[in-house]
């Protein structure tokens, strides 16, 4: 065994606190160490070249690099070893920066600690075994959960590369929240006009399959080989027969409040959520349908010229295999009924941003007029309150929802456009207009559209004499403000969907205290999760506007394509392995594994001449966390590259 030790100065990061020459000298005295040296920057090209040269010169077969955290450069050094012809798993990184020089000040003590760390690394590397990478196959099919703009954009990108995509959408049509918007900032493009071409592209693509009225029931497997059960809820309309002619919903006698129009308008029990819906077929809301409630009616089935109505349709479970999954489930609005000071959600004329979007939309419940929901009169004085639910540790979420300042400015503009005599009052704390052309947009709203911006939160809104009395403040002038408004629009924040936590648990992905899905790295990997093969797009990861949503959707698609173009997926071999001779089949590891990466297998035991059950590690799923090794009584399961033997050897050095 010939071990080489390379100690890095890392400029002054390490050398400033640790005497690297002393460390190298001490290392050269350890057992089996045949070469020990220092260098300024081991990760640089000359540093790597140094390792190659020494390996060839001294015929080294194991290497210890004492430098920064392995999280940064372990892969670099493994490759370096591979290029020099040594098995890349015969290297150990001794972290003498984050674990030593960066956390201590006394040079003598730090140097002593660094020497101890190097001793441990040398002990470990002496017990390293050469390992080979494993490979798994990849199913060339992608699942996208969520059919909003994020899911649609990802689907378009992946279909362009000619890979099959399945979109699973909960609502009867794809389009998501963007389909409810009227105009989008800062260009004032009509949301439906820019969304529907994408929806059509996706529906006509031969690579994309859309399942609407569907939800994810179960996910198992691992990257490259996910098995997913999709529950397709009964639409009660046969999509193959329906032509979207409208005969049924025109004649339906049952009416109920429309969720798409935020309950400002009505829809029938058999309905299409909006005119540009994809698929362009209705769905029966069985909870409000007369036939399903009382067995009377049945008009839609009678008038349908294609016989597409099927009352007996049942939920269907579809099981498919996918190579990668993109989660694009989006957001929902903060429920402002927790605010007693704004009426507990009981005042009819206190509405949210989405309500206002539906109101100003020309195909909305009021035909584009801004009316008071209570009496239908046109609203002249409209107060917009920003930061409702956001930046509020007491009753809401602590974060900023990012888009509300911009959409409120847009609402103030649209209000003036729809009603020349209207006046917009915006109560704000800050104006966050950080995107391209956003600041100019806000300036335009204050300039040409006469919106009055008041800096302060609103303490209370109450009804009196048919008007809404709004009591706020303007901290800039030091005044209390009272406004008698016709309509109050609350810029409710963007929060996670109510079942986000459940979906995260089904997908085995982490989520934070606000139920937003956690990305792998907040700066460098915003579109992936720590679970291999599951990627994130859009507002389900954090609140964002449409440009950012489309960007992350394309980012996730690019990552997925990177996965799919490969024939086989390389996996690190630093995973658990079972010694079948020692395994007693007690299932302790099976219970302990958080990733469900262990399965029990029945094998033929030739010695004992009978069948017995042993544990087996699923190589693609195992992340090498070590839970199983900790619980195994027999030490039958062990981690490659981090075995019990190696740890005992290290303990011997302390």
């Amino acid at each position: 065994m010939k071990i080489g030790v390379f100690v890095c100065h890392c400029g002054t990061n390490i050398a400033g606190t640790v005497d690297v020459e002393k460390v190298a000298k001490a290392a050269s005295g350890l057992a089996n160490v045949k070469y020990s040296t220092t260098y300024k920057y081991m990760c640089s090209s000359p540093g790597q070249a140094l390792i190659w040269d020494v390996i060839k010169e001294k015929a080294l077969d194991r290497v210890v690099v004492c430098a920064c955290s392995p999280g940064l450069h372990e892969k670099t050094f493994r490759k370096c070893l591979e290029d020099a012809g040594v098995n890349p798993y015969l290297i150990e990184i001794a972290n003498i920066r984050e674990h030593c020089s960066w956390v201590h000040r006394d040079m003598e003590q730090a140097t002593r600690k660094a020497i101890a760390i190097v001793k441990l690394a040398v002990a470990k590397v002496s017990r390293d075994k050469p390992l080979e990478k494993t490979y798994i196959s990849i199913e060339k099919k992608v699942l996208i959960i969520g059919g909003g703009i994020a899911g649609i954009q990802s689907a378009i990108d992946i279909a362009f590369a000619k890979y099959p995509v399945v979109i699973v959408e909960r609502e009867p049509s794809i389009g998501g929240k963007m389909a409810q918007f009227d105009k989008t900032f800062p260009t004032l493009d009509c949301a439906a006009c820019i969304l529907t071409p994408k929806m059509v592209t996706v529906s006509q693509s031969k690579y994309v399959t859309i399942h609407t009225c569907s939800e994810i029931e179960e996910v198992s497997g691992h990257v490259g080989n996910f098995t997913v059960k999709i529950r397709k809820k009964a639409r009660s309309v046969d999509l193959k027969k329906c032509a979207g002619c409208g005969a049924c919903w025109n004649k339906c006698p049952a009416k109920t409040a429309s969720q798409f129009d935020m309950k400002l308008g009505k829809r029938t029990a058999i309905y299409v959520p909006f005119p540009q819906a994809v698929p362009n077929a209705p769905v029966i809301d069985r909870g409000n349908c007369l036939y399903f409630k009382t067995k009377k009616c049945g008009i839609c089935q009678k008038v349908c010229p294609f016989g597409a109505i099927d009352y007996d349709m049942q939920d269907e479970i579809i099981e498919e295999k996918f190579g990668a999954i993109i989660v694009a489930t989006g957001f929902t609005q903060f429920d402002h009924s927790v605010y007693g000071e704004y009426g507990y959600g009981k005042y009819k004329d206190v509405i949210t941003g989405l309500h206002f979007e539906r109101m100003v939309n020309s195909s909305g419940p009021t035909g584009g007029k801004v009316l008071r929901p209570s009496d239908g009169k046109e609203a002249k004085d409209v107060v917009f309150i920003q930061c409702v639910g956001s930046r509020d540790e007491q009753k809401g979420v602590s974060y900023c929802s990012r888009v509300c300042c911009m959409y409120t400015a847009k609402h103030a503009l649209l209000l003036k456009e729809h009603n020349k005599d209207a006046q917009a009052y915006v109560f704000y704390i800050d104006i966050r207009a950080a995107g391209k052309n956003y600041e100019e947009f806000v300036k335009n709203v204050q300039d040409k559209h006469g919106a009055v911006y008041l800096r302060g939160r609103v303490s209370r809104v109450f009804e009196k004499g048919g008007k809404l009395i709004v009591r706020g403040a303007d901290t800039l002038s030091g005044a209390q403000i009272e406004i008698q408004a016709d309509l109050v629009v609350l810029a409710a924040g963007l929060v996670a969907q109510p079942d986000a936590a459940k979906l995260a648990q089904t997908m085995h992905i982490p989520y934070d205290k606000n139920n937003l899905f956690t990305e792998a790295h907040p700066k460098l990997a915003p579109a992936e999760t720590i679970t291999s093969g599951v990627f994130l797009a859009g507002a389900c990861q954090s609140p964002k506007d449409i440009p950012d949503t489309v960007a992350t959707a394309s980012a996730a698609a690019a990552k997925v394509l990177g996965l799919l173009v490969q024939d086989k997926l390389e996996r690190e071999p630093l995973i658990a392995k079972v010694d079948r001779i020692l395994c007693s089949g007690c299932k302790a590891c099976y219970e302990a594994c958080p990733f469900h990466a262990i399965e029990m297998k029945e094998i033929e035991d030739r010695q004992l001449k009978r069948k017995r059950t042993v544990a087996e590690v699923l190589e693609g799923v195992c992340t090498g966390c070590g839970n199983c090794t900790a619980v195994c009584r027999m030490s039958a399961i062990d981690l490659e590259g981090f075995s019990n033997r190696q740890i005992m050897e290290q303990l011997g050095e302390i």
């Binding site: 000071e341 930061c387 930046r391 509020d392 540790e393 007491q394 009753k395 809401g396 704390i429 800096r455 302060g456 939160r457 609103v458 303490s459 209370r460 009591r471 706020g472 403040a473 303007d474 901290t475 030091g478 005044a479 209390q480 403000i481």
Partner: protein, 215 residues
């Protein structure tokens, strides 16, 4: 120009002292103004509640303690109930009032409330339970409004609502001990009944006011 705030003021200890003694995290205030928006008395204040908190954050102890705001606070707790950063603004106002008493800094226009509080507490110390006649009488006398509410007095007597003579509680010695101990433990200087500066300020202000009216 209203104020010039020097770097020394901002680096001063006032914010830290308040946070430590009062226990409220003033540094978290992001000046949203919800407290000022809901304050029922703010129409008479010179500085709004959120401005007072701002001044505390900037270390402006003198300006804060000599403002009218905290004496006008009615302790209705609307601000505390609604603050999104969960800061107890009413408690901060209480603390500022106590500090003003300690530092003997009372603004010229708001001398009635400090005087009233002192008289009230002295009343309790003497009798154990509130002796209204004594309170009203002494307050009117010392604040210079001798005949305030005089028309209400006969009504109250006739309806048997106010006692003419005081009624001393039996355990008055224990109560006086409580007062003494609170003063000692709270390190508060307890002054005489005739709080000279307050009385003088009150009477002189009222006199000047009357002269101005009759001019």
């Amino acid at each position: 120009m209203k104020w010039f705030i020097s770097q020394d003021t901002i680096k001063g200890p006032f914010q830290k002292i308040l946070e430590k003694e009062c226990g409220e995290n003033v540094r978290l205030c992001y000046q949203c103004g919800k407290c000022s928006a809901g304050c029922p008395v703010s129409y008479q204040m010179d500085y709004l509640p959120n401005q007072i908190i701002r001044m505390v954050q900037l270390g402006m102890q003198d300006e804060v303690l000599s403002s009218k705001t905290m004496w006008l606070c009615a302790s209705c707790l609307a601000c505390t109930a609604r603050c999104p950063r969960e800061i107890d603004i009413a408690e901060i106002m209480d603390y500022l009032r106590r500090r003003a008493y300690k530092k003997q800094v009372i603004p010229l226009e708001e001398t009635e409330v400090p005087l009233f509080n002192k008289i009230f507490l002295r009343n309790i110390e003497l009798f154990g339970r509130l002796y209204e006649m004594g309170l009203i009488g002494m307050f009117n006398l010392l604040s210079g409004e001798f005949f305030k509410d005089i028309f209400l007095a006969p009504k109250m007597f006739l309806k048997n609502k106010i006692e003419i003579l005081p009624h001393r509680a039996k355990n008055i010695k224990e109560i006086r001990a409580i007062f003494n101990n609170s003063g000692k433990l709270g390190k508060v200087k307890r002054t005489r009944l005739f709080y000279p500066k307050l009385v003088f300020l009150n009477l002189s202000r009222k006199l000047i006011g009357k002269i101005e009216k009759y001019k």
